[in-house]
């Protein structure tokens, strides 16, 4: 038997390597980052991104795409900074309700055979509108327990790292190890065969969307915990960031090929790439462009590592 790295392991090895390289570069540019506080500053804003990325990954694992991730997280942030603080019960109820709405979207998309891109595009307007209604101007305040949670200082490793690892483990267990995860990915891989085995594909899709809703809600709550207050546009960027994170982490748009650990690493990489650039001090005109360049470099790195891996395999 030929010895080969399993596809899953490869899917992971490459993002992990690019993260390591980038981290080394950051440490070299800014040795101060190599500390408990430094690591926390580098990574704490990656936590909500990682959660949103996992949510996007769940949707992508059933061959769909969610263009409303950013506005949804913004909306959740607004709810967290208002209702969840002032009337925790109502806040919880709302958050529970929107998770149900997410699951419902999965059902509708499946039953009516709708393109998820359009439905989520429409929903992005709806979430944005609700957020603007809730907070016409920025404001609100994070519930104390959320703030406390996000600014916790655990021993050994900073909160940002602990949280990222926790998210990766939980998501890995749910998506890669549990029966439900297998079913969801099965729908992404070959819907017909899942149907032929007697499963309810609607149920699987609803579960995927519902789970995505849960992770996205967590992203919004975590974000408010970090920023202390919310506004209606706070997380618009998360739509593209989450998609980029999944791809960086080795996921694919169709076919149910995803990797939760990779997705978390992808989110960390994206965050780190931004920091790397600020440490480089580029002319203001080209700072925006440099963000594009770094994305390209990281992905090109992926290609390079992929090539090396292949050569290794051939030998």
């Amino acid at each position: 038997m030929r010895r080969t790295l399993s596809a899953d392991a490869m899917r992971l090895a490459i993002p992990a390597l690019s993260l390591t390289i980038l981290l080394a570069a950051v440490f070299w540019l800014q040795p101060r980052a190599m500390s408990y506080v430094g690591l926390n500053l580098l990574f704490n804003l990656a936590v909500p991104i990682a959660l949103a990325t996992i949510a996007q990954m769940l949707i992508m694992s059933v061959n769909d795409l969610d263009l409303s991730m950013g506005t949804f997280v913004s909306f959740v942030a607004c709810v967290t900074a208002t209702f969840l603080r002032e009337a925790p019960l109502v806040g919880m109820l709302i958050l529970f309700g929107v998770v149900v709405v997410y699951a419902g979207l999965g059902v509708v998309i499946h039953l009516r055979n709708l393109p998820s891109i359009v439905v989520s595009l429409g929903m992005s307007f709806v979430w944005a509108g609700l957020a603007v209604l809730l907070l016409p101007a920025p404001g609100g305040q994070a519930p104390d327990w959320v703030r406390a949670l996000m600014t916790m200082k655990p021993p050994v490793a900073p909160m940002a790292i602990v949280a990222s690892i926790l998210i990766a483990i939980v998501a890995h267990f749910v998506v890669m190890r549990s029966s439900l995860g297998v079913l969801i990915r099965g729908v992404g891989g070959n819907q017909r065969s899942v149907e032929r085995a007697g499963w309810s594909v609607v149920g699987a899709r609803a579960a995927a969307y519902g789970l995505a809703g849960v992770f996205a809600v967590l992203a919004g709550v975590a974000l408010v915990g970090l920023t202390t207050s919310a506004d209606a546009n706070i997380a618009l960027r998360y739509t593209l960031l989450s998609i980029a994170g999944v791809i960086l982490g080795g996921g694919e748009f169709i076919g149910g090929r995803v990797s939760p650990i990779g997705a978390v690493i992808g989110a960390l990489t994206l965050t780190l790439a931004g920091s790397f650039l600020s440490f480089l001090r580029i002319s203001p005109d080209w700072q925006i462009g440099a963000q594009g360049a770094i994305l390209i470099i990281v992905l090109a790195l992926r290609l390079l590592l992929n090539r090396l891996e292949k050569r290794e395999k051939r030998r």
Binding site: L45, T227, D231, I234, S275, P284, Q291
Partner: protein, 314 residues
């Protein structure tokens, strides 16, 4: 003595002429200051997208980089509070301007946006004492500045009840968006005698109204060169009268000097106010001449100006 100190500018957006003018002024004024040895460095940083989260990360990086002061034009008055608090805790002076932050440990150089909105209606009440219908062009929904100016305008309308706002559209502070939104509502609006704006959208509104072949109402301008030029053309052709008001992009340089003064150990009040820059019928030509083609009417500040502002706040 601040010659060893490093100051950073944290900017959340570079996508319009106002922000570009702001960055240019910063570069010009701080460049000279660095050359003169007043401070060791004054670097400008812009995020790729106009997002509070990204700016928060940027501020955190500045903490790591060891800056002594951060001058900040914030994407959100509240969403950066977490990062600003972290900076303060690390002993960094934070001075916010234009887009200010509410975190108490930071300094604020604010413009009274509410007053800016109210004064537009006040001006119209003098020009059009009989009142009439107004069209309001707003900025980006959910953003602090938009909410403030709009609140001021509505306050003004309450104060001068002869005016009535018959239409309100969001122009996102972008001229093409404003043009599109105005063109969309115009067909269903009654006669409009005045347009109240937030800056950067007056010319778009004028074009949409001209395209619909309606009588030109009094459009309050926002200090952009193209707006002033259009106003001048109209003025020469038919004596068109209006006013123009906005915050000067050079306020970034004021914030720079304030930060420098704080680092120098001066006692500075947490809340400072700068006047907005207003252009009227009589000083139009003069202002137009001083404005770069395609740019924004601007004022840059010196160290002396900053000291004056600080003193007067005491």
């Amino acid at each position: 003595d601040t010659s060893g100190k490093k100051i950073a500018l944290s900017n959340n957006y570079a996508g319009n002429s106002w922000r570009q003018a702001m960055l240019t002024s910063w570069e010009k004024v701080t460049g000279e200051a660095v050359k003169a040895g007043v401070v060791a460095a004054a670097d400008a940083f812009t995020t790729a997208e106009n997002q509070a989260t990204e700016q928060a990360a940027q501020i955190q990086n500045m903490i790591l980089q060891g800056y002594d002061a951060i001058v900040l034009n914030a994407a959100s008055p509240t969403a950066l509070n977490g990062a600003v608090k972290e900076a303060c805790d690390a002993g960094i002076t934070v001075v916010s301007f234009d887009g200010i932050v509410t975190e108490p440990c930071a300094w604020r150089i604010a413009v009274d946006f509410k007053e800016m909105g109210r004064s537009q209606v006040e001006y119209l009440s003098k020009k059009l004492p009989n009142g009439g219908n107004l069209l309001e062009i707003r900025g980006l929904a959910g953003v602090f500045v938009d909410d403030e100016i709009s609140a001021g305008i509505h306050e003004g309308v309450k104060q001068f009840p002869q005016f009535k706002i018959v239409g309100s559209v969001h122009g996102d502070w972008a001229q093409d968006v404003a043009q599109k939104a105005v063109a969309g509502v115009l067909p269903s609006l009654p006669e409009v005698i005045g347009v109240v704006t937030q800056g950067g959208d007056g010319y778009g509104a004028a074009q949409a109204i001209a395209a619909a072949k309606r009588p030109m109402p009094v459009i309050v301008m926002g200090n952009r060169e193209d707006e002033l030029k259009w106003w001048k053309e109209q003025k020469d052709a038919n004596g068109y009268e209006t006013m123009s008001v906005s915050i000067a992009p050079g306020v970034s340089t004021l914030a720079f000097w304030v930060a420098q003064q704080i680092l120098d150990g001066k006692e500075v009040k947490k809340d400072l106010v700068v006047p907005f820059l207003r252009i009227d019928q009589d000083n139009l030509e003069q202002n137009l001449a001083n404005t770069q083609a395609g740019g924004v009417a601007n004022v840059e500040y010196t160290q002396a100006d900053a000291i004056k502002v600080i003193e007067s706040a005491k």
